[in-house]
Amino acid sequence: MNNKIVFGSYVPIDSPLHRLDPRMKLLMCVWYVVLVFFANSWGTSLWLLAALLCAMLLSHVSLRQYWQGLRPLAWVIVFTVVFQVLFSSGGKLYWHWGIMSITHDGLVNSLIIFYRFMVIITASTVLTATTPTLRIADGLDWFMRPLKFLKVPVNQITLMLSIALRFIPTIMDEAGKITNAQRSRGMNFHQGNLVKRVKHLVPVLIPLFVNSFKRAEDLATAMEARGYDPDSPRTHFRQLHWQGSDTMTFILMVLVTVILFLIRGGLL
Protein backbone atom coordinates (compact mmCIF):
# COMPACT_ATOMS: atom_id res chain seq x y z
CA MET A 1 0.00 0.00 0.00
CA ASN A 2 2.73 2.38 0.98
CA ASN A 3 4.98 3.14 -1.97
CA LYS A 4 7.17 5.67 -0.23
CA ILE A 5 10.85 4.88 -0.17
CA VAL A 6 12.08 4.31 3.31
CA PHE A 7 15.64 4.24 4.50
CA GLY A 8 17.27 1.00 3.46
CA SER A 9 14.73 -0.18 0.92
CA TYR A 10 15.55 -1.61 -2.49
CA VAL A 11 14.60 0.28 -5.68
CA PRO A 12 13.73 -2.35 -8.28
CA ILE A 13 15.16 -0.85 -11.49
CA ASP A 14 18.05 -1.77 -13.75
CA SER A 15 21.40 0.06 -13.69
CA PRO A 16 25.11 -0.73 -13.94
CA LEU A 17 25.24 -0.57 -10.16
CA HIS A 18 22.27 -2.93 -9.76
CA ARG A 19 24.07 -5.48 -11.92
CA LEU A 20 27.25 -5.56 -9.84
CA ASP A 21 28.04 -8.52 -7.65
CA PRO A 22 26.74 -7.89 -4.12
CA ARG A 23 30.17 -8.83 -2.72
CA MET A 24 31.73 -6.02 -4.70
CA LYS A 25 29.11 -3.55 -3.54
CA LEU A 26 29.44 -4.60 0.09
CA LEU A 27 33.20 -4.32 -0.07
CA MET A 28 32.90 -0.95 -1.78
CA CYS A 29 30.50 0.39 0.83
CA VAL A 30 32.61 -0.74 3.79
CA TRP A 31 35.79 0.49 2.12
CA TYR A 32 34.21 3.87 1.44
CA VAL A 33 33.22 4.26 5.10
CA VAL A 34 36.84 3.57 6.08
CA LEU A 35 38.08 6.11 3.53
CA VAL A 36 35.76 8.79 4.88
CA PHE A 37 37.73 8.74 8.12
CA PHE A 38 40.90 9.50 6.16
CA ALA A 39 39.43 12.65 4.64
CA ASN A 40 41.07 15.51 6.52
CA SER A 41 40.78 18.53 4.24
CA TRP A 42 38.44 20.27 1.80
CA GLY A 43 40.22 18.55 -1.09
CA THR A 44 39.98 15.03 0.23
CA SER A 45 36.38 15.50 1.39
CA LEU A 46 35.28 16.87 -1.95
CA TRP A 47 37.07 14.06 -3.79
CA LEU A 48 35.16 11.40 -1.82
CA LEU A 49 31.93 13.33 -2.25
CA ALA A 50 32.51 13.36 -6.01
CA ALA A 51 33.08 9.59 -5.98
CA LEU A 52 29.82 9.12 -4.10
CA LEU A 53 27.92 11.35 -6.54
CA CYS A 54 29.25 9.25 -9.43
CA ALA A 55 27.95 6.09 -7.77
CA MET A 56 24.59 7.75 -7.17
CA LEU A 57 24.33 8.74 -10.83
CA LEU A 58 25.27 5.23 -11.95
CA SER A 59 22.54 3.77 -9.74
CA HIS A 60 19.80 5.47 -11.83
CA VAL A 61 17.96 6.20 -8.59
CA SER A 62 16.82 9.82 -8.60
CA LEU A 63 18.21 12.30 -6.07
CA ARG A 64 14.64 12.91 -4.92
CA GLN A 65 14.27 9.24 -4.03
CA TYR A 66 17.53 9.35 -2.09
CA TRP A 67 16.33 12.43 -0.23
CA GLN A 68 13.05 10.71 0.65
CA GLY A 69 15.03 7.82 2.04
CA LEU A 70 17.28 10.11 4.09
CA ARG A 71 14.60 12.46 5.37
CA PRO A 72 13.49 10.31 8.32
CA LEU A 73 17.06 10.46 9.61
CA ALA A 74 17.36 14.22 9.17
CA TRP A 75 16.33 14.87 12.78
CA VAL A 76 18.98 12.58 14.18
CA ILE A 77 21.62 14.36 12.12
CA VAL A 78 20.38 17.84 13.04
CA PHE A 79 20.27 16.90 16.71
CA THR A 80 23.83 15.51 16.68
CA VAL A 81 25.18 18.51 14.82
CA VAL A 82 23.47 21.02 17.13
CA PHE A 83 24.72 19.06 20.13
CA GLN A 84 28.27 19.21 18.75
CA VAL A 85 28.03 22.94 18.06
CA LEU A 86 26.75 23.78 21.54
CA PHE A 87 28.71 21.40 23.74
CA SER A 88 32.20 21.13 22.28
CA SER A 89 34.78 23.75 23.11
CA GLY A 90 38.14 25.03 21.95
CA GLY A 91 39.36 27.82 19.72
CA LYS A 92 37.72 31.21 19.47
CA LEU A 93 34.57 31.73 21.54
CA TYR A 94 31.63 33.31 19.64
CA TRP A 95 28.74 32.96 22.13
CA HIS A 96 27.98 31.26 25.43
CA TRP A 97 25.09 30.71 27.85
CA GLY A 98 25.44 28.46 30.90
CA ILE A 99 27.20 25.30 29.83
CA MET A 100 26.41 25.94 26.16
CA SER A 101 28.79 27.79 23.88
CA ILE A 102 29.60 28.24 20.24
CA THR A 103 33.29 28.04 19.50
CA HIS A 104 35.38 27.84 16.36
CA ASP A 105 36.44 24.25 17.04
CA GLY A 106 32.86 23.33 17.84
CA LEU A 107 31.74 24.60 14.44
CA VAL A 108 34.51 22.76 12.62
CA ASN A 109 33.83 19.55 14.51
CA SER A 110 30.13 19.70 13.78
CA LEU A 111 30.80 20.34 10.12
CA ILE A 112 33.02 17.25 9.98
CA ILE A 113 30.43 15.18 11.78
CA PHE A 114 27.69 16.45 9.50
CA TYR A 115 29.78 15.53 6.45
CA ARG A 116 30.62 12.04 7.71
CA PHE A 117 27.07 11.36 8.74
CA MET A 118 25.67 12.41 5.39
CA VAL A 119 28.11 10.57 3.14
CA ILE A 120 28.14 7.36 5.18
CA ILE A 121 24.35 7.17 5.31
CA THR A 122 24.07 8.04 1.64
CA ALA A 123 26.67 5.43 0.72
CA SER A 124 24.78 2.72 2.59
CA THR A 125 21.56 3.90 0.96
CA VAL A 126 23.22 3.47 -2.44
CA LEU A 127 24.06 -0.09 -1.46
CA THR A 128 20.59 -0.97 -0.19
CA ALA A 129 18.79 0.84 -3.02
CA THR A 130 20.70 -1.12 -5.66
CA THR A 131 20.93 -4.52 -3.92
CA PRO A 132 17.99 -6.63 -2.70
CA THR A 133 18.45 -7.44 0.98
CA LEU A 134 18.67 -11.12 0.21
CA ARG A 135 21.64 -10.54 -2.10
CA ILE A 136 23.35 -8.52 0.62
CA ALA A 137 22.87 -11.53 2.90
CA ASP A 138 24.40 -13.75 0.20
CA GLY A 139 27.38 -11.42 -0.01
CA LEU A 140 27.80 -11.39 3.75
CA ASP A 141 27.62 -15.18 3.73
CA TRP A 142 30.54 -15.29 1.32
CA PHE A 143 32.65 -12.88 3.36
CA MET A 144 31.92 -14.83 6.52
CA ARG A 145 32.91 -18.19 5.06
CA PRO A 146 36.41 -18.17 6.58
CA LEU A 147 34.73 -17.97 10.00
CA LYS A 148 33.42 -21.52 9.47
CA PHE A 149 36.88 -22.76 10.38
CA LEU A 150 36.43 -21.10 13.74
CA LYS A 151 33.20 -23.13 14.16
CA VAL A 152 31.01 -20.06 13.68
CA PRO A 153 27.60 -21.28 12.36
CA VAL A 154 27.77 -19.02 9.31
CA ASN A 155 24.97 -20.76 7.38
CA GLN A 156 22.55 -20.53 10.29
CA ILE A 157 23.41 -16.88 10.87
CA THR A 158 22.85 -15.87 7.27
CA LEU A 159 19.64 -17.92 6.96
CA MET A 160 18.40 -16.24 10.12
CA LEU A 161 19.34 -12.87 8.69
CA SER A 162 17.58 -13.48 5.39
CA ILE A 163 14.43 -14.72 7.15
CA ALA A 164 14.47 -11.68 9.43
CA LEU A 165 14.73 -9.43 6.38
CA ARG A 166 11.96 -11.33 4.63
CA PHE A 167 9.58 -10.68 7.54
CA ILE A 168 10.24 -6.94 7.93
CA PRO A 169 7.45 -5.89 5.52
CA THR A 170 5.05 -8.41 7.10
CA ILE A 171 5.73 -7.08 10.59
CA MET A 172 5.54 -3.43 9.46
CA ASP A 173 2.18 -4.17 7.91
CA GLU A 174 1.00 -5.81 11.09
CA ALA A 175 2.22 -2.91 13.23
CA GLY A 176 0.12 -0.58 11.06
CA LYS A 177 -2.97 -2.72 11.49
CA ILE A 178 -2.60 -3.01 15.26
CA THR A 179 -1.99 0.75 15.56
CA ASN A 180 -5.19 1.42 13.63
CA ALA A 181 -7.13 -1.05 15.75
CA GLN A 182 -6.00 0.63 18.98
CA ARG A 183 -6.64 4.08 17.55
CA SER A 184 -10.15 2.98 16.73
CA ARG A 185 -10.47 2.02 20.40
CA GLY A 186 -9.88 5.67 21.28
CA MET A 187 -6.14 5.73 21.78
CA ASN A 188 -4.53 9.00 20.78
CA PHE A 189 -0.86 8.61 19.92
CA HIS A 190 -0.24 12.34 19.67
CA GLN A 191 -1.45 13.39 23.08
CA GLY A 192 0.25 13.80 26.41
CA ASN A 193 3.84 14.13 27.57
CA LEU A 194 6.72 11.86 26.64
CA VAL A 195 6.04 9.28 29.37
CA LYS A 196 2.42 9.03 28.27
CA ARG A 197 3.41 8.64 24.65
CA VAL A 198 5.83 5.85 25.48
CA LYS A 199 3.04 4.16 27.45
CA HIS A 200 0.92 4.34 24.32
CA LEU A 201 3.33 1.96 22.63
CA VAL A 202 2.45 -0.87 25.01
CA PRO A 203 -0.89 -1.80 23.37
CA VAL A 204 0.90 -1.95 20.03
CA LEU A 205 4.18 -3.62 21.01
CA ILE A 206 2.73 -6.41 23.15
CA PRO A 207 0.44 -7.82 20.43
CA LEU A 208 3.30 -7.40 17.97
CA PHE A 209 5.59 -9.50 20.19
CA VAL A 210 2.93 -12.11 20.90
CA ASN A 211 2.19 -12.47 17.19
CA SER A 212 5.89 -12.62 16.32
CA PHE A 213 6.44 -15.48 18.76
CA LYS A 214 3.50 -17.32 17.25
CA ARG A 215 4.92 -16.64 13.82
CA ALA A 216 8.35 -17.91 14.82
CA GLU A 217 6.81 -21.09 16.18
CA ASP A 218 4.81 -21.68 12.99
CA LEU A 219 7.85 -20.96 10.88
CA ALA A 220 10.04 -23.37 12.83
CA THR A 221 7.46 -26.14 12.37
CA ALA A 222 7.12 -25.40 8.66
CA MET A 223 10.90 -25.40 8.21
CA GLU A 224 11.24 -28.71 10.01
CA ALA A 225 8.46 -30.21 7.89
CA ARG A 226 10.39 -29.13 4.81
CA GLY A 227 13.44 -31.02 5.95
CA TYR A 228 15.52 -28.23 7.45
CA ASP A 229 18.17 -29.53 9.81
CA PRO A 230 20.59 -26.90 11.14
CA ASP A 231 23.34 -29.49 11.49
CA SER A 232 23.16 -30.87 7.97
CA PRO A 233 24.91 -29.39 4.95
CA ARG A 234 22.68 -27.62 2.40
CA THR A 235 23.15 -26.75 -1.24
CA HIS A 236 22.59 -23.19 -2.42
CA PHE A 237 20.11 -22.07 -5.04
CA ARG A 238 21.42 -18.53 -5.22
CA GLN A 239 24.91 -18.26 -6.61
CA LEU A 240 27.14 -15.24 -6.99
CA HIS A 241 28.81 -14.44 -10.30
CA TRP A 242 31.88 -12.25 -10.33
CA GLN A 243 32.08 -10.51 -13.71
CA GLY A 244 34.40 -8.22 -15.63
CA SER A 245 32.50 -5.16 -14.46
CA ASP A 246 33.15 -6.16 -10.86
CA THR A 247 36.88 -6.35 -11.49
CA MET A 248 36.64 -2.94 -13.20
CA THR A 249 34.87 -1.51 -10.19
CA PHE A 250 37.53 -2.94 -7.92
CA ILE A 251 40.24 -1.20 -9.94
CA LEU A 252 38.27 2.06 -9.82
CA MET A 253 38.04 1.71 -6.07
CA VAL A 254 41.78 1.28 -5.79
CA LEU A 255 42.22 4.37 -7.98
CA VAL A 256 39.90 6.45 -5.80
CA THR A 257 41.93 5.35 -2.77
CA VAL A 258 45.27 6.15 -4.35
CA ILE A 259 44.11 9.59 -5.45
CA LEU A 260 42.69 10.24 -1.98
CA PHE A 261 46.05 9.57 -0.39
CA LEU A 262 47.85 11.63 -3.04
CA ILE A 263 45.63 14.61 -2.21
CA ARG A 264 46.09 13.97 1.49
CA GLY A 265 49.87 13.83 1.11
CA GLY A 266 49.83 17.13 -0.80
CA LEU A 267 51.05 15.49 -4.01
CA LEU A 268 47.94 16.45 -5.98
Binding site: P169, D218, G227, F237
Partner: protein, 274 residues
Amino acid sequence: MDAVTLTNVRFQYPNTDRLILDDVSLGFPQGEWTTIIGHNGSGKSTLARLIDGLLIPQQGQITVGDLPVTEKNMTRVHQQVGIVFQNPDNQFVGATVADDVAFGLENRQVPRDEMQTRIQQSLAAVDMAQLADAEPAMLSGGQKQRVAIAGILALEPKIIILDEATSMLDPAGRQLVLNLLKQLRTQQKYTIISITHDPAEMAIADRVVVLDQGKIIRQGPVAKVLQDVELLRQIGVGIPAGQALRQALADRGVAVPARYFTEQEMVEWLCQKL
Protein backbone atom coordinates in the same frame (compact mmCIF):
# COMPACT_ATOMS: atom_id res chain seq x y z
CA MET B 1 -2.99 -50.50 -0.19
CA ASP B 2 -2.87 -47.72 2.38
CA ALA B 3 -0.39 -44.89 1.90
CA VAL B 4 -0.43 -44.07 5.61
CA THR B 5 -1.39 -46.35 8.49
CA LEU B 6 -1.84 -45.50 12.15
CA THR B 7 -2.03 -48.40 14.60
CA ASN B 8 -3.24 -47.80 18.17
CA VAL B 9 -1.81 -44.29 18.29
CA ARG B 10 -1.98 -42.43 21.56
CA PHE B 11 -0.73 -38.89 22.01
CA GLN B 12 -0.74 -36.19 24.64
CA TYR B 13 1.29 -33.02 24.86
CA PRO B 14 3.92 -32.93 27.61
CA ASN B 15 2.74 -31.43 30.92
CA THR B 16 -0.95 -31.74 30.08
CA ASP B 17 -3.42 -34.34 31.27
CA ARG B 18 -5.67 -34.37 28.22
CA LEU B 19 -5.30 -37.21 25.76
CA ILE B 20 -5.32 -35.62 22.30
CA LEU B 21 -5.48 -38.90 20.36
CA ASP B 22 -6.86 -41.93 22.13
CA ASP B 23 -5.95 -45.28 20.61
CA VAL B 24 -6.48 -44.23 17.00
CA SER B 25 -6.14 -46.81 14.23
CA LEU B 26 -6.67 -45.53 10.74
CA GLY B 27 -5.61 -46.05 7.13
CA PHE B 28 -5.42 -43.53 4.28
CA PRO B 29 -5.96 -45.30 0.93
CA GLN B 30 -3.29 -44.68 -1.69
CA GLY B 31 -4.18 -42.06 -4.31
CA GLU B 32 -7.38 -40.93 -2.59
CA TRP B 33 -8.38 -37.63 -1.04
CA THR B 34 -9.42 -37.92 2.59
CA THR B 35 -10.75 -35.02 4.67
CA ILE B 36 -10.56 -35.01 8.44
CA ILE B 37 -13.28 -33.04 10.20
CA GLY B 38 -14.14 -32.38 13.84
CA HIS B 39 -14.38 -29.68 16.52
CA ASN B 40 -11.52 -27.31 17.19
CA GLY B 41 -9.31 -29.27 19.56
CA SER B 42 -10.51 -32.68 18.40
CA GLY B 43 -6.95 -33.68 17.51
CA LYS B 44 -7.02 -33.12 13.74
CA SER B 45 -3.88 -30.97 13.49
CA THR B 46 -2.02 -33.21 15.91
CA LEU B 47 -2.81 -36.14 13.63
CA ALA B 48 -1.28 -34.30 10.66
CA ARG B 49 1.87 -33.51 12.62
CA LEU B 50 2.21 -37.11 13.79
CA ILE B 51 2.07 -38.42 10.22
CA ASP B 52 4.93 -36.12 9.25
CA GLY B 53 6.93 -37.00 12.35
CA LEU B 54 6.82 -33.46 13.72
CA LEU B 55 5.43 -35.06 16.86
CA ILE B 56 6.14 -38.57 18.12
CA PRO B 57 3.30 -40.60 19.69
CA GLN B 58 3.63 -41.99 23.22
CA GLN B 59 2.18 -45.27 22.03
CA GLY B 60 1.36 -47.01 18.79
CA GLN B 61 2.90 -47.02 15.35
CA ILE B 62 2.63 -44.89 12.24
CA THR B 63 3.92 -45.96 8.83
CA VAL B 64 4.18 -43.95 5.62
CA GLY B 65 4.24 -46.44 2.75
CA ASP B 66 6.38 -49.16 4.32
CA LEU B 67 8.46 -46.67 6.26
CA PRO B 68 7.89 -46.51 10.04
CA VAL B 69 7.78 -42.89 11.26
CA THR B 70 10.67 -42.83 13.73
CA GLU B 71 13.50 -40.40 14.58
CA LYS B 72 15.85 -42.51 12.48
CA ASN B 73 13.73 -42.28 9.31
CA MET B 74 12.82 -38.60 9.76
CA THR B 75 14.59 -37.26 6.69
CA ARG B 76 12.84 -39.73 4.41
CA VAL B 77 9.49 -39.18 6.11
CA HIS B 78 9.74 -35.41 5.59
CA GLN B 79 10.50 -36.06 1.94
CA GLN B 80 7.49 -38.32 1.39
CA VAL B 81 5.05 -36.16 3.34
CA GLY B 82 4.45 -32.47 2.61
CA ILE B 83 2.29 -30.22 4.79
CA VAL B 84 0.64 -26.94 3.87
CA PHE B 85 -0.17 -25.03 7.06
CA GLN B 86 -2.96 -22.60 7.90
CA ASN B 87 -1.23 -19.23 7.81
CA PRO B 88 0.13 -18.49 4.31
CA ASP B 89 2.64 -15.94 5.64
CA ASN B 90 4.14 -18.01 8.43
CA GLN B 91 5.44 -20.76 6.16
CA PHE B 92 6.92 -18.61 3.40
CA VAL B 93 10.64 -18.86 4.14
CA GLY B 94 12.22 -17.54 0.95
CA ALA B 95 12.64 -13.91 -0.04
CA THR B 96 11.09 -14.69 -3.44
CA VAL B 97 8.80 -17.36 -4.85
CA ALA B 98 11.68 -19.30 -6.45
CA ASP B 99 13.75 -19.06 -3.26
CA ASP B 100 10.90 -20.46 -1.25
CA VAL B 101 10.51 -23.47 -3.50
CA ALA B 102 14.29 -23.90 -3.41
CA PHE B 103 14.34 -24.05 0.39
CA GLY B 104 13.25 -27.70 0.62
CA LEU B 105 15.59 -28.68 -2.23
CA GLU B 106 18.53 -26.99 -0.52
CA ASN B 107 17.76 -28.91 2.65
CA ARG B 108 17.80 -32.12 0.63
CA GLN B 109 21.14 -31.10 -0.92
CA VAL B 110 19.82 -31.26 -4.45
CA PRO B 111 22.53 -30.04 -6.88
CA ARG B 112 21.89 -26.56 -8.22
CA ASP B 113 21.44 -27.54 -11.90
CA GLU B 114 18.73 -29.98 -11.00
CA MET B 115 17.14 -27.39 -8.68
CA GLN B 116 16.48 -25.00 -11.55
CA THR B 117 14.41 -27.49 -13.54
CA ARG B 118 12.57 -28.83 -10.52
CA ILE B 119 11.62 -25.31 -9.40
CA GLN B 120 10.41 -24.41 -12.86
CA GLN B 121 8.37 -27.59 -13.20
CA SER B 122 6.71 -27.36 -9.82
CA LEU B 123 5.92 -23.66 -10.26
CA ALA B 124 4.41 -24.44 -13.64
CA ALA B 125 2.33 -27.19 -12.02
CA VAL B 126 0.72 -24.64 -9.67
CA ASP B 127 0.48 -21.95 -12.36
CA MET B 128 2.92 -19.57 -10.65
CA ALA B 129 5.83 -19.73 -13.12
CA GLN B 130 5.44 -16.08 -14.18
CA LEU B 131 5.77 -14.95 -10.59
CA ALA B 132 9.00 -16.84 -9.82
CA ASP B 133 10.82 -13.64 -8.83
CA ALA B 134 7.93 -12.06 -6.92
CA GLU B 135 8.35 -11.20 -3.25
CA PRO B 136 5.83 -12.57 -0.74
CA ALA B 137 4.49 -9.08 0.04
CA MET B 138 3.19 -8.85 -3.55
CA LEU B 139 1.27 -12.13 -3.42
CA SER B 140 -2.27 -12.91 -2.29
CA GLY B 141 -2.91 -15.57 0.33
CA GLY B 142 -4.09 -18.02 -2.31
CA GLN B 143 -0.93 -17.48 -4.34
CA LYS B 144 1.26 -18.02 -1.27
CA GLN B 145 -0.49 -21.31 -0.55
CA ARG B 146 0.08 -22.35 -4.16
CA VAL B 147 3.77 -21.61 -3.72
CA ALA B 148 3.73 -23.73 -0.56
CA ILE B 149 2.25 -26.58 -2.61
CA ALA B 150 4.90 -26.05 -5.31
CA GLY B 151 7.56 -26.32 -2.60
CA ILE B 152 6.09 -29.68 -1.67
CA LEU B 153 5.70 -30.95 -5.25
CA ALA B 154 9.35 -30.12 -5.96
CA LEU B 155 10.32 -32.74 -3.39
CA GLU B 156 8.26 -35.41 -5.19
CA PRO B 157 6.31 -36.53 -2.14
CA LYS B 158 3.73 -39.30 -1.90
CA ILE B 159 1.44 -37.60 0.61
CA ILE B 160 0.19 -34.02 0.69
CA ILE B 161 -1.44 -32.80 3.90
CA LEU B 162 -3.42 -29.55 4.09
CA ASP B 163 -3.87 -28.40 7.66
CA GLU B 164 -6.76 -25.91 7.34
CA ALA B 165 -4.74 -24.48 4.47
CA THR B 166 -7.73 -22.67 2.95
CA SER B 167 -9.27 -21.26 6.14
CA MET B 168 -7.50 -17.89 5.97
CA LEU B 169 -8.10 -17.36 2.26
CA ASP B 170 -10.80 -15.38 0.50
CA PRO B 171 -13.21 -17.35 -1.74
CA ALA B 172 -11.14 -16.66 -4.87
CA GLY B 173 -7.96 -17.89 -3.16
CA ARG B 174 -9.72 -20.92 -1.75
CA GLN B 175 -11.06 -21.82 -5.17
CA LEU B 176 -7.57 -21.47 -6.64
CA VAL B 177 -6.14 -23.94 -4.13
CA LEU B 178 -9.03 -26.41 -4.36
CA ASN B 179 -8.90 -26.44 -8.17
CA LEU B 180 -5.21 -27.23 -7.96
CA LEU B 181 -5.88 -30.12 -5.61
CA LYS B 182 -8.61 -31.49 -7.86
CA GLN B 183 -6.15 -31.41 -10.70
CA LEU B 184 -3.47 -33.18 -8.63
CA ARG B 185 -5.97 -35.85 -7.67
CA THR B 186 -6.55 -36.80 -11.30
CA GLN B 187 -2.84 -37.70 -11.59
CA GLN B 188 -3.40 -40.34 -8.87
CA LYS B 189 0.23 -39.91 -7.80
CA TYR B 190 -0.57 -38.29 -4.50
CA THR B 191 -2.53 -39.25 -1.43
CA ILE B 192 -4.23 -36.07 -0.21
CA ILE B 193 -5.24 -35.51 3.41
CA SER B 194 -7.07 -32.25 4.15
CA ILE B 195 -8.20 -30.91 7.48
CA THR B 196 -11.05 -28.45 7.09
CA HIS B 197 -14.22 -26.74 8.32
CA ASP B 198 -15.32 -25.83 4.82
CA PRO B 199 -18.36 -27.83 3.65
CA ALA B 200 -17.42 -27.37 0.00
CA GLU B 201 -13.95 -28.77 0.63
CA MET B 202 -15.37 -31.81 2.42
CA ALA B 203 -17.79 -32.47 -0.39
CA ILE B 204 -15.14 -32.78 -3.12
CA ALA B 205 -13.02 -35.33 -1.22
CA ASP B 206 -13.29 -39.09 -1.67
CA ARG B 207 -13.46 -40.04 1.98
CA VAL B 208 -14.26 -38.38 5.30
CA VAL B 209 -12.91 -39.19 8.76
CA VAL B 210 -14.70 -37.66 11.76
CA LEU B 211 -12.63 -37.08 14.88
CA ASP B 212 -14.19 -36.25 18.22
CA GLN B 213 -12.31 -35.96 21.52
CA GLY B 214 -9.37 -37.91 20.21
CA LYS B 215 -11.36 -40.80 18.78
CA ILE B 216 -12.56 -41.63 15.31
CA ILE B 217 -16.33 -41.64 15.54
CA ARG B 218 -17.09 -42.17 11.86
CA GLN B 219 -15.26 -42.77 8.59
CA GLY B 220 -16.20 -43.74 5.07
CA PRO B 221 -16.97 -42.45 1.59
CA VAL B 222 -18.09 -38.78 1.46
CA ALA B 223 -21.67 -39.58 0.45
CA LYS B 224 -22.05 -41.96 3.38
CA VAL B 225 -20.65 -39.75 6.13
CA LEU B 226 -22.12 -36.42 5.01
CA GLN B 227 -25.54 -38.05 4.81
CA ASP B 228 -25.74 -37.86 8.59
CA VAL B 229 -26.72 -34.21 9.08
CA GLU B 230 -27.26 -34.76 12.81
CA LEU B 231 -23.64 -35.86 13.18
CA LEU B 232 -22.37 -32.80 11.29
CA ARG B 233 -24.42 -30.52 13.55
CA GLN B 234 -23.13 -32.28 16.64
CA ILE B 235 -19.48 -31.79 15.72
CA GLY B 236 -20.10 -28.20 14.65
CA VAL B 237 -19.05 -28.36 11.00
CA GLY B 238 -20.98 -26.77 8.16
CA ILE B 239 -23.47 -28.78 6.15
CA PRO B 240 -23.01 -28.89 2.36
CA ALA B 241 -25.84 -26.98 0.67
CA GLY B 242 -27.47 -29.90 -1.19
CA GLN B 243 -27.62 -31.88 2.00
CA ALA B 244 -28.88 -28.87 3.98
CA LEU B 245 -31.82 -28.53 1.57
CA ARG B 246 -32.56 -32.25 1.76
CA GLN B 247 -32.69 -31.99 5.55
CA ALA B 248 -34.85 -28.84 5.45
CA LEU B 249 -37.35 -30.63 3.17
CA ALA B 250 -37.35 -33.73 5.36
CA ASP B 251 -38.00 -31.48 8.40
CA ARG B 252 -41.05 -30.14 6.55
CA GLY B 253 -42.43 -33.62 6.10
CA VAL B 254 -41.41 -34.15 2.48
CA ALA B 255 -40.44 -37.75 1.71
CA VAL B 256 -36.84 -37.40 0.51
CA PRO B 257 -34.65 -40.49 0.09
CA ALA B 258 -32.29 -40.90 3.05
CA ARG B 259 -29.07 -40.61 1.09
CA TYR B 260 -26.47 -37.95 0.40
CA PHE B 261 -27.32 -35.26 -2.18
CA THR B 262 -24.88 -32.90 -3.86
CA GLU B 263 -26.38 -29.58 -4.98
CA GLN B 264 -26.62 -30.93 -8.52
CA GLU B 265 -28.28 -34.17 -7.42
CA MET B 266 -30.75 -32.24 -5.28
CA VAL B 267 -31.74 -30.03 -8.19
CA GLU B 268 -32.13 -33.07 -10.46
CA TRP B 269 -34.23 -34.91 -7.89
CA LEU B 270 -36.51 -31.89 -7.45
CA CYS B 271 -36.92 -31.45 -11.21
CA GLN B 272 -37.95 -35.07 -11.46
CA LYS B 273 -40.45 -34.73 -8.66
CA LEU B 274 -42.07 -31.46 -9.73
